[in-house]
């Protein structure tokens, strides 16, 4: 499980603005089962770069349960526990308690679930773990539908979006569940939303979560080229535009417990421009787009 030909040397500085250090050690392997351009696999790669090898990943049924590879293969160089759909946070709590009993508090628990396992099916487990302030980082990589089972609508699917269960677009009455507000009500140790399209913001937040204690929750937007009906090469750009348009703001809970934006687009784009980049919003009407725009501004 070594990446002997992937070492890089020197500073990783891909623009004049980036001066944080990125480790060359990879804890995620090539050959995983993610589709081309998958935002979830890219996010996992960088989350593990920050958390380091002393991490145990717990994940329920989700895309990543497939991406990680079938037995006897695994895409992660850290231990990974697969759990049933509803119980990731509960199982992670158990692992945490076992480690505490062994006096291995320094090992991070990363609960890594999709939007289905977080917004819908796993919600009670999360609520329980959050209520007990279980010492873990819970990351929801949100690709806005049940993608690996065939793009069914979840409560994270934004209104108007096409899925196989909402062929005419998700009813505009039902928006995306405000997961940050739900978790915030549990008084978590850390709370933020992020996307890998903003690397410095992403790294800063994962590092803060790593340094904090208690139940920590990060909501990641992860592009899904097949589910969003976009070309794989545009996955990153579409994620970026989600932030630039205000559809997915980059947020963080501050010390006073209020949620604030960590990034304000200099030249924001309209919701219409963001929706136009994806095939799944083809059926959304102009009036609906305008309502959406007004919700944001």
């Amino acid at each position: 499980m070594t990446n002997n030909n992937r070492s890089t040397t020197g500073k990783n500085h891909f623009t004049d603005d980036t001066n944080w250090q990125i480790t060359n050690a990879e804890l995620m392997e090539s050959g995983h089962m993610a589709c081309p351009g998958c935002g979830a696999s890219l996010s996992m790669r960088h989350v593990l770069k920050v958390l380091g090898p002393e991490t145990i990943v717990v994940m329920p049924a989700c895309c990543w349960a497939i991406i990680a590879g079938g037995q006897p293969t695994t895409a992660l160089s850290v231990p990974l526990l697969h759990t049933p759909f509803a119980v990731a946070a509960a199982a992670a709590s158990g692992v945490r308690q076992a480690l505490t009993a062994q006096k291995k508090e320094h090992i991070q628990i990363l609960t890594w679930a999709g939007d289905g396992g977080t917004f819908d099916i796993g919600l009670q487990g999360i609520s329980g773990a959050a209520e007990r302030h279980e010492d873990m980082i819970y990351i929801c990589y949100d690709n806005e539908a049940y993608m690996n089972t065939g793009i069914q609508q979840s409560s994270a699917t934004p209104h108007g979006a096409w899925t196989t269960t909402t062929p005419g677009g998700k009813d505009f009455k039902y928006g995306k569940k405000d997961i940050l507000a739900i978790i915030k009500a549990h008084n978590p140790g850390y709370l933020a939303s992020a996307t890998i399209a903003y690397p410095d913001d992403f790294y800063a937040k994962i590092e803060k979560a790593k340094a904090a204690r208690g139940f920590r929750f990060i909501h990641l937007l992860a592009a899904c080229p097949s589910g969003w009906k976009i070309d794989s090469q545009n996955a990153l750009e579409v994620t970026r535009l989600a932030v630039e348009s205000g559809v997915f703001p980059l947020l963080e809970m501050n010390d006073e417990g209020a949620i604030e934006k960590t990034y304000k687009p200099e030249n924001p784009i309209s919701v219409k421009e963001y929706l136009a980049t994806q095939g799944r919003f083809k059926k959304i009407t102009a009036e609906e787009t305008e309502i959406w725009q007004n919700e944001i501004s």
């Binding site: 990783n12 623009t15 090539s30 696999s41 790669r45 037995q71 695994t74 895409a75 090469q233 750009e237």
Partner: protein
């Protein structure tokens, strides 16, 4: 289902029969899924294309920003033997073409070149110990002659330069005022060239066309680069000592000769006109510059026009002289408004009559040598070959003449293949760059002497910045079309299928695509700021 005996086994370190994975997914050749594969496709930057000398600007900016100043200087010198000079007097075609202009402001390539040139004044040129028996003679030690000398000497040719004036430099010394190009900078750069390459420089040595034949017998190649050293005076103007050419006057000023007269009228709109006007003003003379078209149409470099105006130069646009009367003590000039007749300018309404001590023509240049009618096989370079042009173009033409001479000797000119390889690359446009991860950052401000401090002396106007300060400026360079191993493709690869090997000397092996695992998503091509990665079909 896990049974008690399994737990017993785990305690003993035996995992058989348990659903535990221990093999890397890297055994899956997911690369077989792809229809497109990423490849490195370097391109030529617009600055490279615009530069008459084709300096690899994107490449040396990279070295410079990394603090490798001498390596950057070496890249410049490969194509440009006089960076301290061109850094000051070149209009920087490269900067006008810079892709960063469409983003915020062009990179100050000229100021970086200038600083590196100054660094080079104390750095001998690297000389390869190539020795051959050919000898070459070069007539004229202006930029073209010096460039020809350098590129011949680099190939081991023994070079002799014949200069008719008392000191080398040609137009650089006698045509460009010291406030744009300080004498000691020019002298140091020429001295460095002459000493590094052991060039036999013979000043006060005029070559007449009659002696050309002897020269050609003695030397294997003769390159004529005598320049266009005198201003052409319009035929309709009276022949009197109070009518002069701008270049003659500039040469006299640069020789510190006393300049008689108080009032000067200069006709023209090129650099020579402005240089003469600004020099005379510095000597305390009253100067009127008269140009027949509008200021916007002046062929002089825009910076020079702006500087001249800020110095309070009296400038009359769209004005022509219809009649010149020599009244014994001075000249009376009848000024008329310009009237356009198609493309031509004619005299329109009469404006007024003005008097002046001297009338200076800066309307064109001609050669003072008599080589025009010499054998066509005589190699020519510089303004004498292609008409008045920029210093960079003169240097380029000197290099070209040297290459022609070398081919005549049956040898391949140095570096011509590298140049050609870059030249053959496709160009890169602003639209092909991906700049989402760059933020706007204006160019540095270059300090210059204010109008008051510079009004009565020939001190250099532009003060320049230190190498360390300019490193920040070089970091603004996008390095359009050349891979800098920045690592953005590596960072955004969801399949961990890109490796960067910054140790490798070979640009092509610095980025390694793992085609066994690359699924061809194409995100690397979409994030590459420099437009180097392209997707090609892979079926």
């Amino acid at each position: 289902m896990i049974k008690l005996k399994h737990i017993e086994a785990i305690r003993n370190g035996d995992f058989t029969g348990l659903p535990i994975s221990s093999t890397s997914t890297a055994v899956n050749m997911t690369g077989s899924w792809k229809f497109f594969r990423p490849t490195l496709k370097p391109k030529k930057s617009p600055c490279f294309e615009a530069c008459p000398l084709h300096i690899l600007i994107a490449e040396y900016m990279q070295e410079f920003a990394a603090g490798n100043h001498l390596a950057a200087l070496e890249i410049i010198r490969r194509n440009n033997p006089m960076p301290a000079v061109t850094g000051r007097v070149c209009p920087h075609f490269c900067q006008s073409a810079c892709n960063r202009t469409d983003f915020d402001e062009a990179v100050l390539i000229g100021d970086i070149e200038r600083a590196l040139g100054d660094l080079g004044l104390t750095q001998p040129y690297s000389v390869e110990n190539q020795v051959c028996h050919e000898k070459a003679a070069i007539i004229g030690s202006g930029p073209a002659g010096l460039a020809a000398a350098v590129f011949l000497a680099r190939a081991g040719v023994k070079v002799t330069i014949f200069e008719q004036s008392e000191a080398p430099g040609g137009l650089l010394r006698y045509g460009i005022p010291a406030y744009r190009l300080p004498r000691q900078i020019l002298e140091k750069e020429i001295k460095n060239i002459v000493e590094s390459y052991s060039i036999d420089l013979r000043c006060n040595h005029k070559i007449e066309s009659a002696s050309l034949d002897n020269l050609r017998k003695e030397y294997d190649a003769v390159i004529a680069a005598p320049g266009l050293t005198q201003s052409s005076i319009p035929e309709t103007w009276p022949e009197t000592p109070t009518v002069k050419g701008a270049l003659e006057l500039l040469a006299a000023i640069s020789r510190d000769e006393p300049i008689p007269g108080e009032d000067f009228v200069i006709i023209g709109g090129g650099n020579a006109a402005l240089d003469t006007a600004r020099s005379l003003k510095r000597l305390g003379k009253t100067v009127h510059l008269i140009y027949r078209r509008t200021i916007d149409e002046m062929p002089a470099y825009p910076d020079e026009i702006i500087e001249a105006q800020s110095e309070g130069l009296l400038l009359r646009e769209e004005t022509v002289i219809e009649e010149i009367i020599d009244n014994g003590r001075g000249l009376s000039l009848n000024l008329h408004r310009s009237r356009k007749n198609g493309n031509r300018i004619e005299a329109g309404d009469f404006i007024e009559t003005i008097t002046t001590d001297f009338l200076i023509a800066a309307t064109g240049q001609e050669s003072s040598s008599d080589f025009q009618n010499c054998a066509p096989e005589l190699l020519r370079a510089g303004d004498f070959a292609h008409g008045a042009a920029s210093v960079a173009e003169a240097l380029a033409s000197g290099r070209k003449a040297a290459a022609t001479a070398l081919r005549k000797f049956g040898r391949l000119p140095e570096d011509s293949t590298t140049d050609q390889e870059t030249q053959n690359l496709p160009p890169i446009t602003f639209a092909a760059l991906h700049l989402n991860y760059y933020s706007k950052k204006p160019a540095l401000k270059i300090p210059q002497l204010d109008e008051k401090t510079r009004s009565d002396n020939f001190s250099e106007i532009h003060l320049g910045l230190s190498l360390e300060q300019l490193e920040v400026e070089a970091e603004r360079c996008f390095h359009c079309g050349s891979c800098t191993t920045c690592g953005i493709c590596w960072f955004f690869c969801p399949d961990v299928a890109i490796a960067i090997n910054r140790e490798s000397d070979n640009a092509e092996s610095q980025i390694l695509f793992d085609y066994d695992h690359c699924k061809g998503c194409g995100q690397c091509a979409e994030v590459c700021p420099r437009g180097v990665i392209e997707m090609e079909e892979d079926l």
